[in-house]
C-alpha cells in the first residue's frame, strides 16, 4: 500500500464552482521525492494542500474521490498525531508564522512544545532545524520582521522540527536568491531518506534538484507523471516553463552525466527534444 493514495479526486473551492482538481489519481510511496509542476492556477497548491491534509475543510470538500494516508483519511487520524504525519509550508511566507512567538527560536519551538515533548528533545530538534535552514544568525530576531526568504526558511525549519513523515513544500524557494536556494536544497537533499517530500513549484530549477519523480498538472489534470528526461521532452514543458528553463534543465542533465558528450546545449525546444528522443528510445521510454 502506498503512503498516500489519491483516487479520482474532483474538487472545487466553492460548491458548484469551477473544477480545480478534475479527476486526480496519484499514489506516492514512502520516501519518494516528487514534484508537482504546472502553470499558474493549474491547481498545484490545491493538490499540495490535499496531500498535506489541509483539505478538505468543513467548507471545501471533495465532489468525488478522496485521499488516504497510511490507509485512512486525514480526518480519521487523531489530532495529536497529524502534525507528525504531514507538514505543509505555504506560498505566502508571513502567513506561515504562528503569531505566537516573539523570536525565531520560539517560533520553531512552538510546534514541538505543543506536542508536550521533553525539553531535551525539543532543543535537539530546534538546533537541527536551525542548522538545516541556516537560521543561526537570526534566532533572536522577531519573525515578523524577517525578509520573505528568511521567513520561508523559518517556516521550513518550523515544519522540520515536527519531524513529519511527509513534508509538503509549496514554492519553497520562490523568494530565495540562487545562493541561498542552493544552500537550502543541499541541506534538504541530506534529510533522512525515509522522509517523503512533495514539492509544488512553477519553476523547474528547484524541482530538478530535489525530485526524482515529476507530475505535470494542466487545468487540474495530470498530463504527465514520470522522470526528468521524459518531462523535459514533453511538449507542454517548454510551453509552460519557457526556454531558459529548458536550457537549465539540459545543463542539469549534463552535470548529472546524462547529456551525450560533444552535443551542444540546445537553443530551442526542438533541439532539446531531438537530443533527448534517441536517449529515451535507448533507455526504453516511449511516448
Amino acid at each position: 500500500m502506498a503512503l498516500i493514495e489519491i483516487d479520482n479526486l474532483h474538487f472545487s473551492w466553492t460548491p458548484g464552482g469551477p473544477g480545480v482538481l478534475a479527476g486526480i489519481s496519484l499514489q506516492i510511496a514512502a520516501g519518494e521525492r516528487i514534484a508537482i509542476l504546472g502553470a499558474n492556477a493549474s491547481g498545484k497548491s490545491t493538490l499540495a494542500q490535499w496531500i498535506a491534509g489541509w483539505l478538505p475543510t468543513a467548507a471545501a470538500t471533495a465532489e468525488t474521490g478522496g485521499l488516504t494516508v497510511q490507509g485512512k483519511a486525514y480526518g480519521d487520524h487523531d489530532a495529536a498525531s497529524r502534525p507528525g504525519l504531514a507538514q505543509f509550508t505555504g506560498q505566502v511566507p508571513m502567513q506561515q508564522l504562528s503569531g505566537f512567538a516573539f523570536t525565531v527560536f520560539d517560533e520553531i519551538a512552538f510546534g514541538p512544545g505543543n506536542l508536550g515533548l521533553p525539553e531535551a528533545e525539543i532543543r535537539a530538534r530546534i538546533s537541527d532545524a536551525i542548522r538545516i535552514c541556516n537560521l543561526e544568525a537570526l534566532k533572536d530576531r522577531d519573525p515578523f520582521s524577517l525578509s520573505g526568504g528568511e521567513q520561508q526558511r523559518l517556516s521550513i525549519a518550523a515544519a522540520l522540527a515536527m519531524q513529519p513523515e511527509i513534508l509538503v513544500l509549496d514554492e519553497p524557494t520562490s523568494n530565495f536568491d540562487p545562493e541561498s536556494r542552493d544552500a537550502l536544497l543541499d541541506q534538504i537533499e541530506r534529510l533522512p531518506a525515509g522522509l517523503t517530500i512533495v514539492l509544488a513549484d512553477a519553476s523547474l530549477t528547484t524541482a530538478l534538484r530535489l525530485a526524482a519523480r515529476f507530475v505535470l498538472l494542466d487545468a487540474g489534470r495530470i498530463i504527465f507523471d514520470g522522470a526528468a528526461a521524459a518531462l523535459l521532452a514533453h511538449p507542454r514543458t517548454a510551453e509552460i516553463f519557457g526556454l531558459p528553463e529548458i536550457r537549465l534543465a539540459a545543463e542539469y542533465l549534463q552535470s548529472a552525466g546524462l547529456w551525450p558528450a560533444g552535443v551542444p546545449m540546445p537553443q530551442s525546444t526542438g533541439a532539446a527534444i531531438s537530443v533527448l528522443r534517441p536517449l529515451l528510445a535507448a533507455s526504453g521510454v516511449s511516448q
Partner: protein
C-alpha cells in the same frame, strides 16, 4: 532595516530591558501586583493612591524606565489635571469656595480632582511598572508554564505580533486604491464614500488570514495536547508564590474595607 523594525516593536511594547530585581521577578508576580494596585487605586483614599503612584514611579525609575514614566505620566496626567481643575475646581457648582490669585475656586472640587488624579496616577504607574519590566514573551511563557490555557496566551501574543503587519497591509491597500483613482484626500464625503473600498479588502484579507492561521496552528499541534512544554520559562520561587497568595488575599480585604471607609 530589519533590525530597525525589531526596534519599532520594542518601542510600541514600552519594554525596557534590564537585570534588576524587578525584572527578575516572575511575570505572574508582577501581574498579581498590578492587579492589587488596580484594586487599591479604587479602594484606598487619595493620600494612599498618591503614595502608590510615587512608589511605583520610583520603582520604574530604578528599573531604568524613568524616561518612559516621565513621558507617559505627563502626557496623561497633565491634560487631565488641567481639565479637572477647570471643570471641577472652577466651573462646577461644588461648595466651599475660596478666592486664590483672582480665581474663584472650590475646595471640594479640588479635592475631587486630587482623588481622580491619584487613582489614575496609581493605575497608570502600576501598569507602567508592569509593561516596562515584562516582555510579553516572558508573560506568555509564565502563563503557559503555570498551566493557563494556551488560548489565553494566544490572545495576548497575537494582537501584539499581528498588529504591525496588519497596519502595513492597510497602508498598502490605501496606496493601491489611491493609485487606481480612489479619492482619499478630497472632501469629507468623498472619504466617507471611499471607506468601503478600503475596509472590504482589509476585512476579507483578515478573514482569509484567520482561516489560514487556524490551519497553521492545527498543523503545529496547537491544543492537540492539554499541556505544552515551555522552554526557558521565567524562574519562580516559593517566596514569590507566597507573595502572590498574600496579594490575592489582600485584594478582597481592600474591597470590603472600601465599603466601610466610604
Amino acid at each position: 532595516m530589519a533590525a530597525a523594525k525589531d526596534k519599532d516593536r520594542e518601542k510600541t511594547l514600552l519594554y525596557v530591558p534590564g537585570e534588576g530585581w524587578l525584572h527578575r521577578l516572575n511575570p505572574l508576580t508582577r501581574l498579581t501586583g498590578l492587579g492589587l494596585v488596580a484594586v487599591a487605586a479604587f479602594a484606598l483614599p487619595p493620600a494612599a493612591t498618591i503614595v502608590i503612584a510615587l512608589v511605583a514611579t520610583l520603582m520604574g525609575t530604578v528599573a531604568g524606565a524613568g524616561a518612559v514614566f516621565l513621558r507617559r505620566l505627563t502626557l496623561t496626567l497633565g491634560p487631565l489635571a488641567l481639565a479637572l481643575f477647570v471643570v471641577h475646581g472652577m466651573l462646577m457648582d461644588h461648595p466651599n469656595r475660596f478666592g486664590f490669585l483672582g480665581l474663584d475656586l472650590s475646595h471640594d472640587g479640588l479635592m475631587y480632582m486630587v482623588k481622580i488624579l491619584g487613582r489614575i496616577a496609581a493605575l497608570l504607574s502600576g501598569s507602567l511598572v508592569f509593561v516596562t519590566t515584562t516582555h510579553p514573551s516572558a508573560l506568555l511563557k509564565a502563563l503557559d508554564s503555570h498551566g493557563f490555557p494556551p488560548g489565553v496566551s494566544y490572545l495576548i501574543a497575537s494582537p501584539l505580533l499581528l498588529l504591525e503587519p496588519f497596519t502595513q497591509r492597510a497602508r498598502a491597500i490605501r496606496e493601491a486604491q489611491m493609485a487606481r483613482g480612489l479619492d482619499l484626500e478630497g472632501s469629507f464625503f468623498a472619504r466617507i464614500r471611499a471607506f468601503p473600498a478600503l475596509l472590504l479588502p482589509l476585512v476579507t484579507l483578515a478573514l482569509a488570514d484567520i482561516d489560514h492561521r487556524a490551519q497553521v496552528l492545527d498543523g503545529r499541534g496547537f491544543r492537540a495536547r492539554p499541556r505544552r512544554t515551555v522552554l526557558d520559562a521565567p524562574k519562580d520561587s516559593p517566596r514569590q508564590r507566597l507573595a502572590r497568595r498574600v496579594m490575592l488575599g489582600l485584594a478582597p480585604l481592600l474591597i470590603v474595607g472600601a465599603f466601610f471607609w466610604h
